[in-house]
């Protein structure tokens, strides 16, 4: 339901891209908000868990949120960034 929120990620997007790129072993510059986590980037369930673990280290408040809640209705990097921003409630510096 959040796929339209591709532009609202702000700096949460930067953190997300950085962590996603590290898991994928790709340069962050190759990642874009519109990319589908699974269909375009090849994320599988273990990688999603890993991503959640890394994001928790950056935003401890995420420990309160389960992975399924974080991902519900989210398909793209941008949408996930939007969800992150709302969940953490913080603009990310």
């Amino acid at each position: 339901m959040d796929d339209n929120a591709t532009t609202s990620g702000g700096t949460a997007l930067a953190v997300l891209v950085e962590e996603a790129a590290r898991i994928l072993g790709r340069p962050p510059g190759r990642l874009e908000p519109g990319q589908h986590l699974q269909h375009d980037l090849g994320f599988d369930s273990v990688m999603l868990l890993q991503l959640k673990g890394r994001l928790e280290a950056r935003f401890p408040v995420l420990r309160e949120v389960s992975l399924p809640d974080l991902l519900l209705g989210v398909h793209t990097l941008g949408a996930l960034a939007g969800r992150l921003e709302r969940t953490t409630g913080l603009p990310v510096a």
């Binding site: 339901m1 949120v65 389960s66 399924p68 809640d69 519900l72 209705g73």
Partner: protein
């Protein structure tokens, strides 16, 4: 104990009062002081028997009168009402609903359909006196261990002798009367005949060991073996060799009412889940703050409304559209067991580890999760109904095409309307090519497009998507019809039957919304639920076609929580429960 009934009991007001009385008597499931509370039903389930206090209560209420037609002294004159009353029992315990109720009814239906005066009178007397019945229906193809029936009756002077086994029969040891379908080869190679017998007290009837079941554990299910059991001429139900037709007359009634009753079981699963979510602090992962929890609750409620719309149309269809009720009831029997079972799995993510608890505040959830799959008896239980839908698709190659009789179907869709014609069993077997439910769709789609308010757009869009699915189905059916008849049909027809069932469910929802519209319609007149219901159905047909409106989910969630707080049922009726 004999129950007598008068005409005034059939009005909607009287029906509500009757259900209120039963709900009141059964009391609050969550009250630890209630002898009919959840703890006691869970304990009885663990001990694998029915709760004696509950059986006594239903004796006192005269539940059996619900199964006996009014003209024979009972309270039965509307099948939608029968299902509503039994939901009160299924909300507590599906085993009780089956063991005390539905099992008897499944057998009695056959007697009402074609028994002679004397058989009808005796059966009514037996039930009104608190007796029990069970029925051994013919085994469908492909069948399973529970549906297995290898009974044969052969002619002897003055009647028949019965031999063979029926592997699984609920209450086999304690019934007072049995309806048995047996193969009668002398009346034709595949001929079956129905018989009405007394309970299994005779020396030539053996009880087989009890079967273990993963759900409805309170039901005592055993097999029966007949070895040359004599049946007199007065035991013949209908004509010799007429068993198949007789079973066909019973199916529209049993297939529409049975799954509809089981809605009560799913209702309790949802209420238990809401209780769990409500009880968890805001920062817990199970709380109502969790988007996953909210969507699980809303989706489950939506599924229940969809199932009830279909149940409503099918049970009222037996009265209003007898010649179409064979198909309508098959859709219910095909779709509901699966949708309800999966609905409970979807809710289990909210409860997490509590979804396995066999006792405590949420123990009823795992019980419902084990009970519901038993009610449909697995894929073999739905196979015959799917076959009926396929037959319909081949008869009416343009399902739902206007047949010129786009009449007023409003009564089909009105949950509280109490003016229904009585059932004529003879008509139930002469299937009509018409399809009033799908024929009602174009007008309903037009209304949906013309709806006003916040959710009007979403409703119109979902209704259009449903209409598109109907068009695609018709094209595929036409393609099927073009093929020259061969020995057998392509398995593609299975998928067509599934799509037909979903579209019929959508049409039922849209009809209920359309005819519920009005200032006093409450939830049902609101486009929000209809938009959500249609989006969910269309999503099963094509998961990319439409999206449920987010605000609609908030709307339904508010209703879910309101009904929880007011203790009202999760179906079309919002019945006050347990007070």
């Amino acid at each position: 104990m004999t129950t007598t009934v008068n005409r005034a009991e059939s009005t909607e007001q009287a029906v509500r009062e009757r259900i209120a009385r039963l709900e009141h008597d059964l009391g609050d499931l969550d009250d630890p002081g209630n002898p009919l509370g959840a703890d006691h039903f869970l304990a009885a389930d663990g001990r694998q028997h029915l709760l004696p206090a509950a059986e006594r209560l239903l004796d006192d209420f005269g539940l059996n009168a619900e199964f006996v037609p009014r003209e024979l002294g009972g309270r039965l004159d509307r099948l939608d009402v029968l299902a509503r009353v039994l939901r009160a029992v299924f909300r507590r315990d599906a085993a009780l609903g089956l063991g005390y109720g539905m099992t008897s009814y499944l057998a009695a239906v056959v007697v009402w359909a074609d028994g002679n005066e004397e058989q009808r009178r005796r059966t009514a007397e037996l039930l009104l006196g608190g007796g029990r019945m069970a029925g051994a229906y013919p085994e469908p193809v492909p069948g399973n261990d529970f549906l297995h029936n290898r009974l044969t009756a052969t002619r002897v002077p003055g009647g028949h002798r019965l031999d063979g086994r029926k592997e699984a029969l609920n209450n086999a040891a304690r019934v007072d009367s049995l309806v048995v379908f047996a193969h009668t080869p002398e009346a034709g190679e595949d001929a079956h005949t129905a018989f009405l017998l007394p309970g299994p007290g005779a020396a030539d009837v053996d009880l087989l060991p009890r079967r273990r079941t993963s759900g409805i554990r309170g039901c005592v299910i055993q097999g029966l073996r007949f070895s040359g059991h004599r049946i007199g001429a007065d035991g013949l139900l209908g004509a010799e060799g007429g068993g198949a037709v007789l079973a066909e007359r019973a199916f529209p009634v049993t297939r529409s009412t049975g799954p509809s009753m089981a809605l009560g079981c799913a209702d309790t699963a949802l209420r238990t889940t809401v209780a769990f979510a409500r009880a968890h602090r805001a920062r817990s992962r199970a709380s109502l703050r969790s988007a996953r929890t909210r969507s699980a609750l809303v989706d489950a409620f939506t599924d229940l409304l969809v199932c009830d719309c279909l149940s409503l149309v099918a049970t009222r269809g037996v009265h209003l559209l007898p010649r179409e009720s064979r198909t309508l009831s098959a859709v219910v029997k095909y779709l509901l067991p699966t949708v309800l079972t999966e609905m409970v799995y979807d809710l289990s993510v909210v409860l997490g580890s509590e979804s396995y608890a066999t006792s405590g505040s949420y123990g009823m959830f795992q019980k419902a999760a084990r009970d519901l799959p038993m009610i449909g008896l697995g894929s073999a239980g739905t196979a015959a109904s799917r076959g009926v839908i396929i037959e319909h698709l081949l008869r009416a190659t343009e399902p739902g095409a206007a047949d010129g009789s786009e009449g007023d179907f409003g009564r089909l869709f009105r949950p509280h309307d109490d003016d229904l014609p009585s059932v004529s069993p003879q008509e139930l077997t002469s299937a009509a090519p018409g399809d009033s439910l799908l024929a009602s769709l174009p007008a309903a789609v037009r209304s949906a497009r013309a709806a006003r308010g916040e959710f009007a757009g979403a409703l119109g869009e979902a209704a259009d998507a449903l209409a598109t699915e109907l068009r695609l189905l018709r094209e595929d059916c036409a393609r099927l019809a073009e093929r020259r008849p061969a020995g057998g049909l392509s398995p593609r027809v299975y998928a067509l039957a599934d799509r037909y069932a979903l579209i019929a469910a959508g049409a039922a929802c849209l009809g209920v919304w359309q005819h519920g519209a009005g200032p006093d319609g409450g939830l049902l007149a609101d486009p929000a639920w209809a938009a959500m219901a249609l989006a969910r159905i269309v999503g099963r047909l094509d998961r990319t076609a439409v999206r449920a409106p987010e605000a609609g989910a908030e709307h339904l969630l508010a209703e879910v929580l309101d009904r929880f707080d007011d203790a009202r049922s999760y179906d079309l009726y919002a019945t006050p429960i347990g007070r």
